[in-house]
């Protein structure tokens, strides 16, 4: 009996052992990633409309008589931009161009007009390429433009400005465009917040005492209450903590490295961020814990590349964006730079996106941009993306019943910090008795240096706070500020400085 019992136990043991050994053998034969052909990613972007990628940073409507409003509704913006992108290419192809001076341009800004400030200065040649206009423009068009104005008082012209280089012109069309006036009236009826020029708000008598100073600032800021803007709860695009077998991660890996999984290494950082490296670092994909997807490729000199135009590069960039996670419909190009690296031409494209009609500033990304694509000739060597998905809006009006703060109130609240930065930026010697820097001239100086006032959403991707905070962004002298819309607290401030070579390369 004992012998039979021993045999039974032995048999069970042997069966278990064979199962273990079989599993062990099967494991060692299984490839690291089971490649599913169904998840192959299409490389060509179909969901993004390239003509919407070039899109103004802000829209301002002038009603004449010093009254303005800012347009934040996506629908109205799209209508205005459609009209502009219909007129401008048509006028560009006729090329009836007249150079004007700053005074004339400023005068047109004061009329009933549609005004669009571009996020970066784009050359008309590049603009024309996107809209299919033949090349060979007037040489003035080589210099980039940063503002477009269409006035109902000159309905067959499109005014263009390049403030940096101080160049102004208008293009003429054959027919007067009636839709400009219609559009302005429509916005006027729906207007909720009135804007005024900063220089129209300042008490001029203070200036007179000082004598030789002139006060001029065409920036417009709201003088009536801005409608409350909700906070937005958002979610990261990817979860860096997900396992390698996760289907989203696999899709990204296939996109980055193709179907060969054998040479992929995985590294994990202390915070949980993961990097997948192909071979000895030829290509690397990093999934950061704060939601960013970064890709890097070492371009071997043996790889054949060819240089690309602005639009060809833009197409490549968009194709790349589409493959890594989602591409928001509101995506638009916010900056573009060209530099040289040996034999290669390096093109950098920066993109941003909007949520609930406002642009999003992402802290810890280059220039706060949501997406960065860098290519050497036609090969993308660097890609970084950190965008969020919309979850829900959180009403702020109950917590902050007073509503959004005014610009002046924000400046008042943070006056110490702002004036300290201002003194540094302008290299003012406050002990210099000759220039007689009094409080009033101080305030004037600050108000005169106020630029690029904008409503935005602010996202600090390094915090575990998945909320977009409504904010005022503005520049004073050489400092960029982000203020909490309701509390006026400084969310972020940094020095603005565009290196000269970059400024030149945008052409």
């Amino acid at each position: 009996m004992n012998k039979e019992r021993f045999k039974s136990v032995l048999l069970i043991g042997l069966i278990v052992l064979s199962v273990v050994l079989t599993k062990n053998l099967l494991d060692s034969k299984t490839p690291e990633i089971a490649v599913n052909p169904d998840v192959a990613v299409s490389t060509v972007s179909s969901s993004l409309n390239i003509e919407r990628i070039i899109y103004p940073q802000d829209f301002i409507i002038g009603f004449g008589g010093g009254s303005y409003t800012g347009v934040y509704s996506e629908e109205t913006r799209n209508t205005i931009w459609s009209l502009t992108t219909e007129l401008l290419p048509a006028y560009l192809s006729q090329l009836d161009l007249t150079v004007i001076d700053e005074e004339e341009f400023r005068a047109i800004e004061k009329t009933r007009s549609l005004q669009m400030r571009l996020p970066f200065a784009i050359s008309l040649n590049n603009f024309g390429e996107v809209y299919g206009v033949e090349r060979g423009f007037h040489e003035i068009l080589d210099s980039p433009i940063d503002k477009i104005v269409i006035s109902s008082s000159q309905p067959n012209r499109v005014y263009l400005a390049n403030f940096e280089d101080g160049q102004y012109c208008y293009l003429k069309g054959y027919e007067a465009e009636q839709r400009i006036a219609t559009q302005i009236s429509k916005v006027s009826e729906a207007m909720t917040t009135e804007f005024r020029r900063v220089d129209s708000l300042v008490n001029f008598r203070v200036l007179q005492e000082d004598g030789d100073q002139t006060f001029f600032n065409e920036e417009i800021i709201p003088i009536t209450g801005v409608e409350p803007i909700p906070f937005v709860k958002v979610a990261k695009e990817i979860d860096a903590l997900a396992e390698r077998q996760d289907s989203e991660i696999q899709t990204l890996l296939i996109k980055a490295f193709g179907n060969s999984s054998d040479f992929i290494k995985r590294l994990e950082e202390i915070d949980g961020s993961k990097t997948y490296i192909y071979g000895y670092g030829d290509k690397a994909l990093r999934l950061g814990i704060s939601g960013e997807i970064s890709y890097q490729e070492k371009l071997s000199s043996s790889v054949e590349t060819s240089s690309v135009s602005f639009k060809e590069g833009l197409d490549i960039a968009l194709g790349f964006i589409d493959g890594y996670g989602t591409s928001p419909q509101s995506l638009y190009l916010t900056d573009y730079q060209v530099t040289k690296d040996g034999v290669y031409e390096v093109k950098s494209y920066y993109f941003d996106y909007r949520m609930r009609d406002l642009s999003i500033f992402t802290k810890n990304m280059t220039g706060g941009h949501g997406i960065e694509v860098v290519m050497k000739n036609d090969v993308v060597t660097k890609f970084k993306k950190n965008i969020r998905r919309y979850v829900k809006s959180i009403d702020a009006s109950e917590i902050w019943a007073d509503g959004p703060m005014f610009i002046e109130a924000i400046i008042n609240k943070n006056f110490d910090v702002i004036s300290e930065n201002f003194v540094k930026d302008k290299a003012i010697d406050i002990n210099d008795t000759e220039t007689n820097w009094q409080m009033s001239t101080y305030v004037l100086g600050i108000m005169q240096s106020l630029k690029n006032v904008e409503l935005t959403y602010y996202l600090d991707s390094t915090l575990d706070d998945e909320r977009l905070i409504p904010a005022w962004s503005l520049e004073i002298a050489d400092t960029l500020y982000y203020f909490h819309l309701y509390t006026g607290d400084i969310l972020m401030m940094e020095k603005i400085g565009v290196p000269e070579e970059v400024a030149l390369s945008r052409k």
């Binding site: 039979e4 042997l14 053998l25 690397a284």
Partner: protein, 280 residues
Amino acid sequence: MDWSKIKTILIVSFIIINLILGYIIYGTQQTFEKKVPVESEVFDQVVALLASKNISVDFDLESYMATVPSLTVSYESYDLNQSADNFLGEGYEVIDGVAILGEEAVKVENDTTLKYFFTTALDDKNDCTLEGAQGIAERFLAQYGYETEDAPWRIDQQGEFLVVTYKQFYKSYYLDEAYMTLAIYDDHVVRFSRKWFQSVAVQNVSRQIVPPSEALFKVIERAYNETVTYGAPIVIEKMELGYRLDDSILFSYIKSGDVFPYWRITFSDGRIIYIEAVKR
């Protein structure tokens, strides 16, 4: 049929099945590491070519591993309080992430680097000898539970101190970026730091290795540029196969990850060149 007889038959057949399975698994693992002799003819040609470029080779290599596995390594992570308890005992104070008690202090950098050090300046002459240093280092490691079977990788004079360095190995392969250093002054350790892999796991993938001759050939271009720059002849002292973590500007502070084999070429002046060792 007799139930007992069936069992006997089953037992015998399962023993056979298990033996076969065991043999296959053992066989697969064996192919992960395969030692082969160096093709001396090609190797000598490359050495001659190096010599013509003013680079001499000062080592013998008779055989090398033609296949090795990839590894997955994971760093030890340290808790400041636990480490402070171990080194300082009770009564320490934590200031700005540094645990301090009297002259001694402990800190943890990026979770994975442990540092113990004396906060006071030492001004007397160091009486410790090279021979004595190793013993002091070994006693220190034993005291705090960080013993290692390997001999010190090197002991050298750095300023006032004798510094004993240990490196981590997997079998005979070096593992870069894992080390212990102990600075010795008189009869005690005044600085200790440790970054060590807690686990080293073998992956089920074996890698074909680039032969030493080919790796040396790749050295030519990189070393030659430097010879031209510095003008001095170069001596290659060592050529070893091992593993190292990749570095990139993309990431920082690695906790764990997969490592590929590299040939590590060490020059007589201490410079090191790494050559990717996996055949593609």
